[in-house]
Subunit: 245 residues, 2 copies
């Protein structure tokens, strides 16, 4: 299997949890771990100790400042969350996610895990393609970060062992990379601002999240994002011309 | 599911591992834990601390001197082992075991886990009906006792707890009706035409189809379509005002 998903820990607090995550990943043959703004920096001695040699079985850990940077070379991003959110997004359980990943070997995928207590922000969830939740006893759910990764990594190992080698034909287009999608969304936000779309400044962050969620959910292709750029250009065209006068 | 398997820890050494096992079980809705000859006796304060309340969600822990006594009221016993043995026995992976258990609701089943380092004796394995092994990366396998129980308990929970379907959580909103979606798409087409988006008339039908496909694929909510109307209005705003003069 060429394409194994990248696990991204967002703002992890405890080095021990990073090490235990690496162990869970290496146990299941996963190799790519990224960290976004680890609280205690990197490298972290406690992570190394807890990893018990796991890092030697993996690719080098990559460190980023923001989630946006961490997912820039990905085509599909799943966000792990235990809580119900107001965002309209598909919700999958881990084995469904892994089946999806295994069936799309050409796509580069990442799975986000939030910080130990606080999880992921609504903004981070809105920029993800889908949510993943681990179904647990609703009366008692206390999985820690590394245990959640273990469940997900184990599902990965099961699927990848049995994975058929499939090459999908994407035609002339490919799923858009996150950096190109983000570039479009930033432009859209800006043009909407120019058009006084965000009348209430307090509401703007939620509105932006909802708009980003819509376009992320559509799983756009490279070509479609170019089309959307053209659509925005067309919609603002006369306005720009008149302003130029 | 009437018949949930009993987890039996055989000669567990560390109270912490017993507590963590209880947590993994309670997370996944399993209720029956038995201990065979726990090294430090029972109750164990470190187990209680590590369990973080898990025991309150379970039936009372049962204590036995021997495996034979512990399995006396069971009809089927699986023995967990990481190692190859000389015994000729069927070997299953956890999801196969759980499928088997679910398909035999009248049978009372137990799953044995050996001590932290030494595992189960050959005698204990020979008394079991089948072996269960957790498939891991053969170059790096370091699951501890409670993590192994977690993987098994999670497989159980997938069978017994209603997993969320693949569906969207629309919050307060509802999926948009097709007439409202089409109304929006017609308006969008018209505004794009006004902005000279469709430069090549021969290409227009295909472009319109692609645009409609994008927005249909996003499975928009009622509220989101209202938002999209507002976005189009914002993008064309100045243009419309200037034309009205």
């Amino acid at each position: 299997m060429k394409n194994t998903p990248t696990i991204i820990l967002v703002r992890p607090q405890m080095g021990e949890n990073i090490g235990a995550t690496a162990r869970a990943m290496a146990n299941c043959g996963m190799k790519d771990l990224s960290l976004v703004a680890p609280r205690d920096g990197w490298p972290d001695e406690r992570a190394t100790t807890m990893a018990a040699g796991a890092f030697e079985h993996m690719n080098e850990v990559r460190i980023f400042e923001t989630v946006t940077e961490a997912v820039s070379d990905c085509q599909k991003v799943y966000a792990t969350t235990a809580r119900r959110r107001d965002l309209v997004k598909p919700v999958f359980i881990p084995d469904q996610v892994m089946e999806d990943i295994v069936n799309r070997p050409e796509e580069s995928t990442a799975i986000l895990f939030g910080a130990e207590r606080t999880g992921l922000t609504n903004e981070e969830l809105s920029m993800s393609d889908a949510l993943m939740t681990i179904p647990l006893n609703s009366d008692f759910s206390s999985l820690n970060l590394a245990q959640a990764v273990l469940v997900v990594a184990y599902e990965w190992s099961k699927q990848s062992i049995n994975a058929p080698q499939i090459n999908l034909d994407y035609g002339d287009s490919i799923p858009v990379s996150k950096d190109k999608l983000h570039e479009f969304l930033e432009r859209l936000d800006e043009e909407l601002e120019n058009g006084h779309f965000f009348r209430n400044p307090d509401m703007k962050p939620a509105m932006v999240n909802n708009i980003h969620a819509m376009f992320t959910r559509a799983q756009l292709s490279d070509q479609e994002v170019r089309t959307l750029h053209g659509m925005v250009s067309a919609l603002i065209r006369k306005k720009a011309k008149k302003e130029a006068k």
